[in-house]
Symmetry: C2
Subunit: 256 residues, 2 copies
DNA sequence: AAGGCTTAGTGTCAAACAAACACTTAAAAA
DNA sequence: TTTTTAAGTGTTTGTTTGACACTAAGCCTT
């Protein structure tokens, strides 16, 4: 209970950044950069973008800053989902070598608050800067071994996303402003990892009022052009929780 | 990015402990104790039980320790729900006075990881110790102004509970081993803050398989004795998320 | 012993929803 | 003109929801 400043852990934020392109859900990962590196580091060692929380900012601000420094984007969907604070988070030799490379005490404990971000991946323009040495979008099925406990964190984010998507209409954050019904269905299918019936899907989406059709259709496709839709953002601005509810197989609903 | 130990924030855990008695949902709050207090402190200033995270423990362990130190209980439902890290969390004069009383730097930043606990309140025996100076169960509708940002934290916990209860069968953690259907319904009604139809509730609960009837009934009540039920724990041990789903008014369900 | 009081426990019906299912249409390409 | 590709469309059957009111069982009172 007394003052012991040197024993305090470091506090960081890490961002699990989801995107959707080429029919797959992807994570934006960075290669760790080592300023004035002296150590031999495996270039293929990826990590979640993150940084220590600064004195003057709260956790959300720290996460938004990390996201902006990497992608240049602001105002995007960013939600805290879990804090990770195992004292043994940093044990891999590679991690310790890297920490020495950035002149951080490899024995210091780091507690991290993990965020998930949903962005339309085509908007991202990787910014020059400390993260920029090779940021890549990797399909969630092909994530290699990551730094620290970042595999655990990204797995947690994916689970959280799957849950959230069933409660709130947030999947749209991953699509461009206007999209076709097939785009939307493909997205839900990848997130939920199961096939959905086209006709039932369309009916439910339209009846729900979450999306609105545009007069515009696709052009120049070699098949029947699909209608574009937009997400009905104004309906959900007041962040109503429990409003949307996508039923999973085997669930049951209670109450009138 | 360099080593700056004295600027690191403190990291604590706080527990929002829910109980259910006399038909109301309650929080277990403590009066802050000030060892060798010199300051004038308002005795009615309550707080969530919490403590700094120790070097050798992870976040879950820290929360479990706090819970055990206060209630003597282990192995109870305890789930992290959010981290709070506003640099201005500690601004009230009372809070700063208290921090001085326990010889902690009132200007040091504290980031806290909040947990919610669900316990059968009759099991609790307040332990002698640093928390013991007046722990009380207060109805959630009658929570006074709390220390730090603890009102925000407990509000967050209540929202998280309301959401969770619709996804996982966790309400049972608040009831004794065996309970009547009316107990259960009253619990759901207080958590969700709305009336439920008796017949529909019973039908749904029984069809769902979450509870099983016992041969035993109430004795000595001055009306028709109610049957006891138990929660079907083995069905849910593998922590299946998305398995249970209690529909709220106005929701819609998607997908086959 | 009878009647009153209190809470437990039960069934049906109509409306909404879920799940399964196959063919036609529009455009470009061959 | 035919082929290829993906978009778009309805119906039926079974299940779930939600609304609704009376009887049953025990204790207490008189």
């Amino acid at each position: 209970m007394s003052i012991s400043p040197s024993l305090n852990p470091h506090v960081s934020v890490d961002c699990v950044i989801f995107g959707f392109s080429k029919e797959t859900l992807r994570l934006l990962l960075i290669k760790r950069t080592v300023p004035n590196a002296i150590t031999e580091l495996d270039d293929s060692y990826y990590a979640l973008p993150g940084d220590l929380v600064r004195d003057n900012e709260n956790l959300d601000e720290a996460a938004a800053r990390v996201l902006k420094e990497l992608t240049g984007l602001t105002g995007i969907f960013l939600q805290q989902f879990q804090a990770f604070g195992d004292p043994l988070r940093i044990t891999k030799a590679k991690d310790r070598a890297w920490l020495k490379g950035v002149r951080q005490d490899p024995d210091a404990r780091v507690i991290t608050v993990a965020y998930m971000a949903l962005i339309e991946s085509s908007k991202v323009e990787i910014q020059p800067g400390s993260f920029s040495k090779g940021a890549v979008w990797l399909p969630i099925g092909e994530i290699p071994e990551l730094a620290f406990d970042h595999n655990e964190i990204s797995d947690g984010a994916l689970m959280a996303l799957r849950e959230k998507v069933q409660i709130q209409p947030i999947a749209f954050e991953l699509l461009p402003e206007k999209f076709t019904m097939s785009d939307l269905q493909a997205l839900y299918e990848t997130i939920l990892q199961r096939d959905l019936d086209k006709r039932n899907f369309r009916r439910k989406m339209l009846n729900s009022g979450v999306i609105a059709p545009l007069p515009e259709k696709q052009h120049g496709v070699s098949n029947k052009p699909a209608r574009y839709y937009v997400f009905n953002r104004n309906l959900f601005e007041n962040n109503q929780v429990g409003f949307v509810n996508l039923k999973m197989e085997g669930t049951f609903t209670l109450f009138n």
